[in-house]
Symmetry: C4
Subunit: 355 residues, 4 copies
């Protein structure tokens, strides 16, 4: 993710990232289990599915490739050594499972201050799946342009570039980038010039329908809501802050943001045709099913993947096989033969935003 | 209930069934007390009942016979020895109380792999009450037909055949039957050919109004919603699973399903005249009253009966006498002289689906 | 309250009543604090009351007399010795405070089986306040008529007769009176013949709007809703029952009934002009204010009075002085100079039934 | 705040005030964290703020001066020595931060019975910010008039006079002033004659829309709702009361009052243009943002300021710097470049009163 002001030495940035990983792994940054609003999405059971579980087709098109399941491993940075191991495991698993993979912020790498495994070997490990590069939106008003973007893409042979928007995270950290004037037009110009599609995402506070509309007008190829209820970056920064006052301020924003369920549903209504990634607090295959039912094309997961990602590629595969099996059963018990069918499954007592 | 794939040896199946009984008896599989939604059904007290408690008529017609109270002992399988004792106790009690009795899945017995007390002696113990045979719906796309159905019926001298639909339970267990293509048309063909009425039920995830409509069109004689909030078969399978990953997947579906209260009300609206059994988490006579008020003709109970069923026929009689006395008081305090009156009793602040 | 079947010896009945008192004093019979629904009645604060606290007029007319505050000490029976002491204390306090007093069921006394302090000395202690006699409604279909009613009234020189309706309590106790056919017409005939007004009350399960309408047509002079949320007679009987099965049945009805707040509001709408007593779980002067705001003319209190009633007349006076002071402050902070003003006080976010 | 009846010796009054401070500091008087209703005001996150955090303009006009941030340190009395230290710290901080300051009740000082630091030195410490004098509304029907008001204003060189309305606090304390006839017309006459603007506030029970309308007609220059959910004076008086019965009565009113969020929103609708102070349970800068979004022009804080106020001017500055930084981040993440923009920020699922 973003690395705050340019003036901090690269070593500091690296230390900070390790903190991130540990805090997320300790799960100190997670709000209550139902903060995403996904728990309120309850499927009507279909006692007569009239399909075969084995035949359910979970494949979806995404950024010009075909995924075997509607899943994205969401962007995660970390300190150089750890990140490089994590990225290798994730790439092996993504390739095996045929699901999409986003890498963490490439800013440190772009500026030549360390790699974190962000090079062509990653693409070699995952030749057939969508691979997404990652840069913070605020960088584009601090000097970044098409060149840096292209460098990020080429560094890993990416299919697309994710631009992440994280104004809250920047605001609650000391020395964060808090001048966001011109970010939208920078994105628009990037969309018109970059050779690969541009995807825009938040990092846990959600994309509002208004922001989504402006992004679609700016020409983005897909939106990832990354809503509230999962990893809270204000919560993470509160844990990291050396300064108690700073920590107290950050903590007040731990619950800030548009809950994932609402963000997905409202962006879908605002932008009926934009390719949409539902993420933020996706824990299980049932959450994936709910995100899709609300309008997402695929669902993204970061924090819940992290423990397996530290372990091995096999662990990541096992983790996602369970997610996929759960999703498959959800399809089965709603009589959905495909992801498209699941999007039309009937709900019990849906919240207003999901009608 | 269903026994998964045909290829498993009968001894395995028997072991599995014993597990079921113990897990249900330990009540590990029960979600929170209000998960059925029945707690939200609150009767308006009638301070001037203008009836006599002793004269309240709880009798109802069911499958051509008359029940002394609107109650069905719902289908329960178990390992051969235990099941045979349980079935004997239940039959004695059903006869004494003049209430209906459904037996557990007869698949093992049909295939000649053990009886579980499923023979003519059961009918001899309960000559005057409706006795219902039981086969899983998925069997009818795996080779079963009118013959097997008739064998189940004749084996116990049943008045009707229950076909149970349990796609979720099959999906979460290893080797379950998960090809459900053609189940509906198999049921339709069974309805048109079988000499006894066909009743269709779920096993704890509920029948939706859509499924109910299709079943009525297929010619079923009655529907048993067996909704969510009582015994959760995903929960039971999670307990049983040797494999931790499998257990974790099953556990995610422990709360899946249409809550009983809603299922009853919605099926009643969708199919105003179908004979309807309200079941799934029926604990007390007050729950029976609520199920009837929502539109059920009779209410079914499985898990809450099990402890008495293991003990003796007398214990089962005592258990249901209390249920019936509670139901009678509920009638009295709503000024209902009959089950038909109870269905029109006034409610306090009913949930939307019960209006 | 009622004493069950005629055939039980008087000594048994006396024992049972002592149980009642102790159970109520132990408060084992009280459901959660907000079960009356009164907590949802929240007054809009008036920062500019423009009245003087000292001048607030709490007096109201009731049964032809004037009360200094809109309060009734609700009917309570007990064993002979205890009841006689309690009644003396209550009468002294009622006279001192100029509030109304209802005595407990006079059935034992009418049948000459013991007095419980129910004689003319009670009226001598409370010469200037409304004094209300008490008989159970079910007695009037078991042989009671105008004569017994008059005997109850004259025994204590009462201004009116309360007929209590307690079908639930009768139903959950062994040997209770459960033939309620003809109670309404017996009440109607009593109303047309008795020389004093007839008041009808429940005992903690509430009077519905339908029942209220029928009672008004039958000619009753006032209705006391005695709704759910305070003393639960099913709860008390569950505690008392020697028989565990009987206790379990009774316990299921511990929450049965129309919550007091709703009962008051709905009866007021159904019968706009009937003198209405709001009772059932009235704990404080704030509850009195809420009951009046919902449409009651006066509020009644039984259980919360009992501890002081066992102690002394002074304790009862002190108890009600606090209730009255709280009521007065509620009037002050809603700018209500009188009970009539309080009935029009503005509420914050009122529940549907209180609109 | 008010000092009860005139007849009590000044020393008593002083003792009582120290109690107030300690009770508030122990936070015994605070109801649950969400009692203000502010927690239900949730901002829609703006992932593309298109502003610079550093450029956000928090300044607002208030009583003819300009505040650097929309904040008022709300009126607090205390015993003479403590109050004088507290007032000094608050004045230093208010001047440093350029925010408004209200002093506690000046009644004791006006009557020449002790100063509590309420003299011209206060103005000297805070020459450039709005300074507000304070007198209880009930005094104006007990003999106070323009002269006493002017004495309060001149004593500290105030820009305006706050008249506080505290009928509940007066009613629950022994010897409180409870004749409130004529308070409104006294305020009206004060407004037309006093040379400085008159602000009217409650002290924790809220101003209703009706009262606000009457106050605006009476000519007040601003209203401070001081709603329920923060400091509860009934709660404080319950703690203070020597007399257990008095304490029990006061305690019943601990939750009385119009929650702050609702009070702000409803007064704003009733009086669209009146300068409005939102206060009562404002804990953080996020609460300030919510109050402003609901319609307040500035937000006031008393209890949450007290601990810092006892410590030093620097502590108060540090406390409010954090409040302001939080408010600034809330503006940033709602894309609000100014307080006026914040008032139009989008909300998620707003309660009825905030639509
Ligand atoms: C350890 C960690 C590092 C992250 N780093 C980045 C990053 O560099 N760039 C980015 O766009 N998002 C980053 N994210 C945000 C995630 O991509 C995702 O949007 C967010 O965590 C919400 O998803 P979750 O609740 O499944 O974790 C990171 C998340 C985690 C947990
Ligand atoms: C031990 C046990 C065994 C069961 N076996 C069967 C079965 O063989 N066939 C069937 O249709 N349902 C079976 N059921 C499901 C019940 O008939 C019923 O639909 C379900 O348990 C919900 O009701 P309950 O909450 O009262 O238990 C079984 C239930 C239990 C508790
Ligand atoms: C100890 C006790 C005895 C009672 N006895 C009678 C009675 O004899 N007759 C009657 O009409 N109600 C009787 N009641 C019911 C009360 O009059 C009242 O309607 C009911 O308790 C609800 O009010 P509460 O919640 O304030 O107790 C009795 C209540 C109590 C607590
Ligand atoms: C210790 C203390 C003393 C107070 N004294 C006064 C006072 O003298 N005059 C007044 O108008 N309000 C007084 N108040 C009320 C506050 O100004 C404010 O309206 C109320 O406490 C609600 O705000 P809070 O929840 O932020 O404390 C006092 C509050 C506190 C905590």
């Amino acid at each position: 993710m973003t690395d705050g002001s340019d003036t901090r030495p690269a070593s500091d940035i690296a230390t900070r990232k390790i903190d991130h990983l540990d805090i997320v792994l300790r799960q100190d940054a997670e709000p209550g289990a139902s903060a995403t609003g996904l728990d309120r999405i309850v499927f009507e059971h279909v006692a007569l599915p009239e399909i075969s579980l084995a035949d359910i087709d979970l494949s979806v098109p995404f950024l010009g490739r075909r995924l075997a399941a509607p899943l994205l491993i969401s962007s995660m940075t970390g300190g150089p050594d750890r990140a490089s191991r994590i990225n290798r495991h994730l790439a092996e698993a993504a390739e095996h499972l045929k699901i999409a993979l986003g890498v963490g912020s490439q800013r440190v790498a772009i500026e030549g201050r360390g790699g974190g495994g962000l090079d062509r070997r990653l693409r070699d490990l995952a030749p057939s799946v969508p691979l997404l590069a990652n840069i913070g939106g605020a960088q584009f008003v601090l000097g970044y342009g098409e060149d840096e973007a292209m460098r990020a893409v080429e560094m890993i042979g990416a299919d697309a570039l994710i631009v992440h928007l994280n104004p809250l995270q920047e605001a609650v950290q000391t020395g964060g980038d808090t001048d966001w004037r011109g970010v939208l037009s920078a994105i628009a110009s990037l969309c018109s010039r970059l050779r690969v599609p541009v995807v825009v995402k938040e990092v846990g506070a959600g994309i509002s329908p208004g922001a989504a509309r402006r992004l679609v007008e700016a020409g983005v190829a897909a939106i990832d809501v990354a809503g509230a209820g999962g990893t809270s970056w204000a919560g993470v920064e509160a844990e990291r802050a050396g300064d108690a006052r700073r920590a107290a301020i950050a903590r007040q924003f731990a619950g800030w943001g548009i809950p994932t369920a609402r963000a997905i549903a409202e962006v879908r209504v605002a932008c009926p045709t934009v390719p949409l990634i539902g993420s933020g607090g996706i824990r299980t295959g049932l959450d994936v099913a709910r995100a899709i039912r609300l309008g997402a094309d695929i669902a993204g997961q970061a924090a819940a993947t992290l423990e397996a990602a530290e372990t091995s590629g096999e662990a990541v595969v096992a983790h996602f096989e369970d997610v996929i099996e759960t999703l498959r059963i959800a399809c089965f018990c709603t009589g959905s033969a495909s992801v498209a069918d699941l999007r039309r499954a009937r709900l019990i007592d849906p919240p207003d935003f999901a009608l």
